[in-house]
């Protein structure tokens, strides 16, 4: 997105609405929502997927797909700082995380769902318009992987579960923008630019030990002029509510591909399956039994037009960025805690055993953050980035666990009870270390 478009968007949709949020609590805002508006919103949510499919079948003619360029860079200097535009966007995202996501986190975790009015309040961030190209009704003129990663990080600071619920659908839009055919883009992308975007969900993980996204067991075969899909996916965001899924499956003879599958398609069954953490995202299983798909349901023009290794790598960057956000939340929380908590006549932060744990938490968090940012920057610059995303994944696994357990340890018994958020971050971080898919950077 260029600066003008960004400014337009943030002034129009983000900042203005957020100013409103600052003066009125979320509950009040939801209460003020007109009943007709709510009805409209509920209606749109349930019909848009089906409508899109009908539209798609009607307009299968060949056009040129819209692709977004990465922001141009004029300098090749080493520079770990964020741009002015990114700093502005981060301010908006951080405020949203602080004022909307964090206060709702405890309830959303218990309910295993986003709070009522979530999709509407999310409209203030304009995630959809920022992803959909201008020609398809959005406002995006560029696609920045770094900005996506920063957004994931900042929203996850508020609550990783809700951040995942917010970024899941828009990640499907990003995949369509990046790899979709012209017909798929025309059918699926415009609704994402609406106030309340469709609920789309990216299904990659499969329910088995040692799962590896590079060895899928969800399989598609060609039968006549159709595909037949079989398999099962887990940790699917909003599994039971999604209008449609973007499913990673091994296409016999071609390798891993992505398929657009409606939740209502024959042979699709869903089941709620709450996990240790990220519960607000409404995680669940989706099973496919002899699901018949059109050839046009394969993402891209033909098998192989989606770079599956990039798809996996982008999802790893997204998950790592969520982990960085939760880690930062943890660090920001334990610092005042260990300073305020006294034992043996002085703050516990005066003890090296405590202070060093905080220092190490900060070191490992920064380490994970920089590796994640580099992977995102390389992806954005068009360099190979699978290695860097893999390394970010390794650190998420290794350090996520360390951050999780030490965060609770620093609060002692208080870390174990729900009066403090660190037990939730413990669960969120550990769940992130097992998550593949869900979102893309």
């Amino acid at each position: 997105m260029n600066k003008d478009a960004l400014g337009r968007h943030m002034m129009g949709l983000g900042l203005a609405a957020l100013r409103g949020f600052a003066s009125s609590p979320l509950a009040q805002k939801v209460g003020l929502l007109a009943p007709t508006e709510r009805l409209l919103y509920t209606g749109a949510k349930t019909t848009v997927g089906a409508a899109a499919r009908v539209f798609k079948l009607a307009s299968g003619k060949a056009q040129r797909a819209e692709r977004l360029p990465a922001p141009s860079t004029k300098s090749d200097l080493f520079d770990p700082s964020v741009s002015e535009e990114q700093a502005l966007l981060r301010e908006v995202a951080q405020r949203f995380a602080r004022e909307v996501l964090r206060p709702a986190a405890l309830g959303a975790d218990a309910a295993c769902a986003t709070p009522e009015g979530f999709e509407t309040s999310l409209a203030d961030l304009a995630l959809g318009p920022m992803t959909v190209p201008e020609a398809l009704g959005g406002a995006a003129t560029e696609a920045s992987t770094v900005t996506s990663a920063l957004l994931a990080e900042d929203l996850a600071w508020g609550d990783a579960g809700q951040a995942l619920a917010a970024l899941g659908p828009v990640s499907v839009a990003a995949a369509l923008t990046r790899w979709g055919s012209a017909a798929q883009q025309a059918a699926y992308l415009p609704p994402f630019a609406e106030t309340v975007p469709p609920l789309a969900s990216l299904a990659l993980s499969e329910p088995r030990p040692l799962f590896d996204p590079l060895e899928l067991r969800t399989r598609a075969v060609v039968r006549g002029n159709r595909y037949v899909l079989n398999g099962e996916k887990s940790l699917v965001v909003g599994a039971e509510r999604a209008d449609y899924y973007l499913v990673a499956a091994e296409l016999l003879g071609h390798g891993p591909c992505l398929f657009l599958v409606a939740r209502t398609a024959r042979g699709v069954t869903t089941a709620r399956e709450p996990a240790l953490g990220l519960r607000a995202a409404g995680l669940g299983r989706v099973a496919f039994k002899d699901v018949e798909l059109d050839t046009s349901d394969l993402l891209g023009e033909a098998p192989g037009s989606v770079n599956y290794a990039h798809f996996v790598a982008r999802s790893r960057i997204g998950v790592a960025a969520l982990g960085v956000g939760v880690g930062q939340a943890l660090l920001d929380y334990v610092i005042p805690y260990v300073n305020d908590r006294s034992a043996f006549g002085e703050p516990i932060s005066h003890r090296q055993s405590v202070a060093f744990m905080v220092a190490n938490l900060a070191v490992e968090l920064e380490a994970l953050r920089l590796v994640t940012w580099r992977a995102a920057a390389r992806a954005e610059q068009g360099h190979p980035f699978e290695r860097e995303a893999y390394l970010a994944r390794v650190l998420t696994t290794e350090r996520g666990m360390e951050l999780a357990t030490n965060g609770v340890q620093l609060l002692g018994g208080h870390g174990y009870i729900k009066e403090h958020p660190v037990e939730r971050w413990y669960r969120d971080l550990m769940t992130l270390t097992t998550l593949e898919g869900g979102l893309l950077a």
């Binding site: 300098s75 090749d76 799962f211 932060s349 202070a355 900060a362 070191v363 920089l370 580099r374 390394l391």
Partner: protein, 404 residues
């Protein structure tokens, strides 16, 4: 945001890598065995480096060039890539070759960094271009620099130094030694200043050279100062004792040199990891990121973990240097880089030794040497624990009397 190395440093890195590969590696074992023997090959290297400096190929790199901020930006964003970044990039390559030899390159001593950080113009003119060692530690004062007992007494136009210093890297070889001493032992940190002593000054006596675990190519000296008189103008920085200002001047040096030690760690860590990857590939273990950590073999997974940790250490190091180049306070980030890179490098060199079994533990390969060399990096210029203290104090907003 960009984490790739700018093109303008490609030549510098290539040259430094060549020095590491073609000059250091072939004599690595020789000087590891011949401890305390001066590596004469380095005189040639020093003149070569001076030449490269003049021709501009070194792009302002080197321990003696570590200035904060300064210089013009080449980018519209105002971002600077300067001497700090250039120096960590080149030191990484040199230490990929050999840490001990890199530490004994004439005119690249840590004392040079100290002079660059705090000297005034007149002192820069007098001391620039000469090899300077750094003398801080005493038999009874290591990490606790405030406990320094060496004294400096003003007598007319001269300071009179008394005391004993240990662990002086390049202490017997350098032209100059930067000595930390107190002007008034009753006034704590604020009274500690640094003084430049010329080699051969009467009253300065080399007591011994230590035999060490590693970095044997680098001499580590013990020096006694007995009524050693130096010109008053050899005091670096502010001669006044300003209560409450702590180490101000002298500690500034560390914000520039800690990223440099972190870079050394990244270099030796990479050396061990690359060699181990080569040896394991020949043994049929290859890790091209095509399997999840849990489907990889134990050896492959270990390679992945080490690579990830090394990458994070490298980026922390580059960022700390970048902050210095851009005049942004970096004490916390410099300590983070040093803490992480040093422990990661030590871990990698040790684990690589284990992965390669007897090949790693014996003297045919350099792996066992790197395992010895790397340990010093987690000790000098502030131990792991001192770095954690600095980081924790900054994060928690604690003074050194609160968080001891």
């Amino acid at each position: 945001m960009n984490f790739e190395t700018p093109k303008k440093y490609a030549l510098l890195i290539e040259q430094a890598h060549l020095v590491g590969k073609e000059m250091f590696r072939p004599i690595s074992r020789k000087y590891d065995r011949a401890e305390h023997e001066y590596p004469v090959e380095l005189d040639l290297l020093a003149s070569l480096l001076d030449g490269l400096n003049e021709s501009g190929a070194l792009a302002g790199a080197g321990a003696g060039k570590l200035k904060r901020g300064g210089g013009k930006s080449e980018a519209a964003s105002g971002v600077r890539n300067g001497a700090n970044l250039a120096t960590v990039l080149s030191f990484t390559e040199l230490c990929w070759g050999d840490v001990g030899l890199a530490l004994t390159i004439p005119r690249q001593g840590l004392g040079n960094a100290a002079i660059a950080a705090v000297a005034n113009e007149e002192q820069l003119a007098r001391f620039g271009g000469r090899w300077a060692a750094m003398a801080i530690t005493e038999p009874n004062a290591g990490s606790d620099s405030a406990a320094i007992r060496a004294t400096a007494r003003l007598d007319g136009d001269q300071y009179v130094l008394n005391g004993e210093k240990i662990f002086i890297t390049a202490g017997s070889r350098a032209d100059l030694t930067v000595v930390w001493a107190t002007l008034d032992a009753t006034r704590g940190r604020a009274a500690i200043k640094s003084f430049v002593v010329e080699k051969g000054t009467p009253g300065m006596q080399l007591l011994r050279l230590d035999h060490k675990l590693g970095i044997k190519a680098s001499d580590t000296a013990t020096v006694a100062f007995t009524d050693c008189r130096i010109p008053k103008t050899n005091l670096l920085g502010d001669p006044e004792i300003r209560a409450g200002e702590g180490f101000a001047g002298v500690m500034q040096t560390f914000d520039n040199t800690r990223p440099l030690v972190a870079a050394m760690a990244v270099g030796v860590g990479r050396a061990a990891l690359e060699r181990t990857q080569e040896l394991l590939r020949a043994a049929g273990v290859h890790a091209p990121y095509d399997k999840s950590l849990w489907r990889a073999s134990a050896a492959e997974a270990e390679l992945y973990r080490m690579e990830a940790e090394l990458e994070s250490a490298r980026l922390l190091t580059l960022r700390a240097a970048w902050l210095a180049d851009n005049g942004i306070p970096n004490s916390k980030e410099a300590s983070m880089a040093k803490a992480k890179a040093a422990r990661v490098a030590n871990h990698i060199t040790l684990r690589c030794l284990q992965l390669c079994a007897s090949v790693g533990a014996t003297e045919t390969e350099l792996l066992e040497k790197w395992a010895r060399d790397s340990k010093i990096l987690d000790i000098f210029e502030g131990t792991q624990q001192i770095q954690l203290l600095i980081i924790a104090r900054r994060l928690l907003g604690k003074s050194s009397s609160e968080l001891k």
